[in-house]
Symmetry: C2
Subunit: 129 residues, 2 copies
């Protein structure tokens, strides 16, 4: 998207009509909603983590998939990988500023999930039915 007129059009489309299709919104939600990505990002919210700490935190996440997701997030500028020259070499991952800015999205999703998907809420709903 290098045509300035097209960029202006896209921005108007995203802001003026909430229900219009918005390419950057679409890209964002498909990116953070990719299988396991949300849980991986959440595991990184509190600071630098090692690869093995993420797999230990997220049940069911394989090394292969974590590695794939981290590469995608690195390519998007959301995660930074740093190699610590220790013996054995240690590899740490942390969120960039762009990644940390996802905190508000994570909080909004957590709030919605706790209100509408929590076990207590589901129990209440079952009783009411």
């Amino acid at each position: 998207m290098t045509n300035p007129d097209m960029n202006v059009e896209v921005e108007v489309q995203c802001q003026e009509r909430v229900s219009a299709f918005c390419p950057v919104f679409h890209r964002a939600i498909e990116l953070i909603g990719r299988r396991w990505t949300g849980a991986i990002l959440r595991a990184m919210l509190s600071g630098e983590v090692r690869f093995s700490e993420i797999t230990a935190t997220v049940p069911g996440l394989s090394d292969r998939l974590l590695s794939e997701r981290l590469k995608e997030l690195e390519a998007e500028g959301i995660v930074v990988r740093s190699v610590v020259p220790s013996t054995p070499v240690r590899v740490d991952y942390r969120l960039t500023e762009k990644g940390q800015a996802l905190n508000e999205v994570m909080v909004a999703i957590s709030n919605w999930a706790e209100t509408w998907l929590s076990p207590a809420e589901n129990r209440k709903r079952r009783v009411e039915e």
Copy 2:
């Protein structure tokens, strides 16, 4: 999850440590992040819509996939389908209270996307590099 001890454990896990794995958060982000679901929900934010209005709004979304996603969202209690007995019969879709509550999530994602993924932002970054 019907064991109350387990529910309490899950809730503590989600609230006390932001980076801990939280099953309801995980379920929520995988649900709204499913391919096309975000764009479909966004197209419904401003009120009742017909099936064809959604496909007209979201470029690239096939009838088959829209139908599949709407069924999933109905099963989750996020979308309601109503049949209007006109000739020909009209089928409308709207968000439930649970679905409307996703508005805050959508706003947070839009804000992040506009700040970090917008064409203008990308241009700026390219210049800085």
